[in-house]
């Protein structure tokens, strides 16, 4: 799948070597999802991840007797799915499209196998996961601050 347009526009591929970007492009599979489609469900095996090409995807969690809670949405250019790289390799959230969406899907097992053979790719993927995890942590901290509810 040709992902060239995302090479510079998505922060996912920032600082990634060309050969690693080309590897990811070569295994990417185009996926189209209707609004309301679950891309993965909480506590099921995390065996893939996505780059969102268009549309909006909600990360949500459900509790008994209450409607699902959306903690975050991700959109164009964003990485969707981190649990494939972190034990116990099961999804921590359910991902459901809010709008009709286009995605690039990556087989996590193929990426992990290649990471074993290519230390550079392994480091690159770890950097992506760490960067994205850090950004999400920062964003959730900001949400917890309830900035708009404060007086200043």
């Amino acid at each position: 799948m040709n992902l060239d347009q995302w090479r510079t526009t998505s922060s996912v591929f920032e600082d990634m070597a060309d050969e690693h970007f080309e590897f990811l492009s070569s295994i990417a599979v185009a996926k189209e999802a209707d609004a309301g489609e679950a891309l993965f469900r909480v506590n099921t095996p995390a065996d893939r991840f996505y780059l969102v090409l268009s549309g909006t995807v909600a990360l949500r969690i459900s509790g008994p007797g209450a409607p699902p809670i959306v903690i975050q949405t991700v959109g164009e250019g964003a990485l969707l799915g981190l649990s494939w790289h972190i034990p116990p390799y099961r999804w921590q959230w359910t991902a459901e499209t809010i709008t009709e969406s286009r995605l690039a899907e990556f087989d996590a097992n193929v990426v992990l196998s290649e990471c074993e053979a290519d230390e550079g790719l392994d480091n690159a993927m770890l950097r992506i996961i760490a960067h994205e995890s850090g950004r999400r942590l920062q964003n959730v901290r900001m949400q917890l601050l309830d900035l708009y509810g404060r007086q200043a």
Partner: protein, 286 residues
């Protein structure tokens, strides 16, 4: 005593003297926020202002408070303020009814770089009540749409019920020449939009970092994070503008209550280029 406001160039003969204004309409925006329309009740001239400026509003017998102007600069006959009830004076403002008379001083302060940014891509990021001070800039930019490059507006709110100017947001979202993104910290059952902070939405915007101007208004922590994110994307910090809020009292740079470092927010601000204040924002106790 005279005062020339830096943004509009208007000369105010007696900057501490109040002008009477009459409330012509009030609208409840959210559970704690009202928009108040006013007109001059002294037969004097309209209150011409530049986007980003503020007035001092005096509620007789209660007190005075600085308020950003939220109206359209092209329609100065109506002075519009959007006010969140958070204290004694703002509670009194939000309780005003049609026909009430209050006192106004101003307009004061610096302006958003709307006139100086023609030809550039415009990135406007607002959070919470911060949409009110940027609304005049949005009106001006959209009224002169051909004079600008791409126009992106990102607005973050606490919940869907806390969104301001919902009719206008719908209108802006419907325009093909505006990229309007809205997000909330917490959704409700009906909300079908984005959830989360504003920064991930900025990454979805398309603009030329070397030929753009950013207008940011909201909680100071939010403005810092957004400004840093834009700078990380390559936008010069001199092209990023924020609106600061401090304890403005006199409004004309005399009393020093709103001092931040070597600047007075009322006189040198509230709108400032980020590179002028970046080292002072986030400094504890300042």
């Amino acid at each position: 005593m005279t005062l020339t406001t830096p943004a509009s160039g208007t000369t105010i003969a007696e900057p501490m003297v109040l002008r009477p204004f009459e409330v012509t309409a009030t609208r409840q925006e959210t559970h704690d926020t009202w928009t108040i329309d006013l007109r001059a009740a002294d037969g004097g001239p309209d209150l011409a202002f530049s986007p980003g400026q503020f007035t001092m509003m005096y509620i007789f017998g209660v007190g005075e408070v600085p308020l950003s102007i939220a109206g359209d600069p092209a329609r100065p006959q109506t002075l519009i303020h959007t006010v969140r009830a958070v204290g004694a004076v703002t509670n009194a403002v939000c309780a005003l009814t049609q026909g009430s008379v209050i006192g106004i001083r101003g307009p004061y302060g610096s302006a958003w770089p709307v006139d100086t940014s023609t030809g550039r891509d415009m990135v406007i990021v607002a959070g919470g009540i911060g949409l009110a001070p940027v609304r005049p800039a949005i009106h001006t930019i959209l009224a002169n749409r051909d004079s600008y490059g791409s126009v992106s507006i990102v607005y973050g709110s606490r919940t869907p019920d806390d969104l301001l100017y919902t009719d206008e947001i719908r209108e802006w979202k419907g325009r093909f020449d505006v990229n309007m993104q809205v997000t909330v910290d917490r959704d409700d059952k009906e909300w079908m939009g984005d959830v989360g902070v504003v920064t991930p939405l900025i990454n979805r915007l398309s603009f030329d970092v070397n030929h753009a101007a950013a207008i940011i208004c909201g909680p100071e922590i939010m403005m810092r994070v957004v400004a840093k994110d834009l700078a990380r994307r390559g936008m010069p910090t001199s092209d990023i503008y924020v609106s600061l809020e401090r304890n403005v009292k006199c409004g004309i740079g005399y009393c020093g209550h709103c001092q931040i470092g070597a600047s007075f927010i009322c006189k040198d601000g509230p709108v400032v280029a980020y590179d002028e204040v970046a080292d002072r924002l986030g400094m504890e106790e300042l």
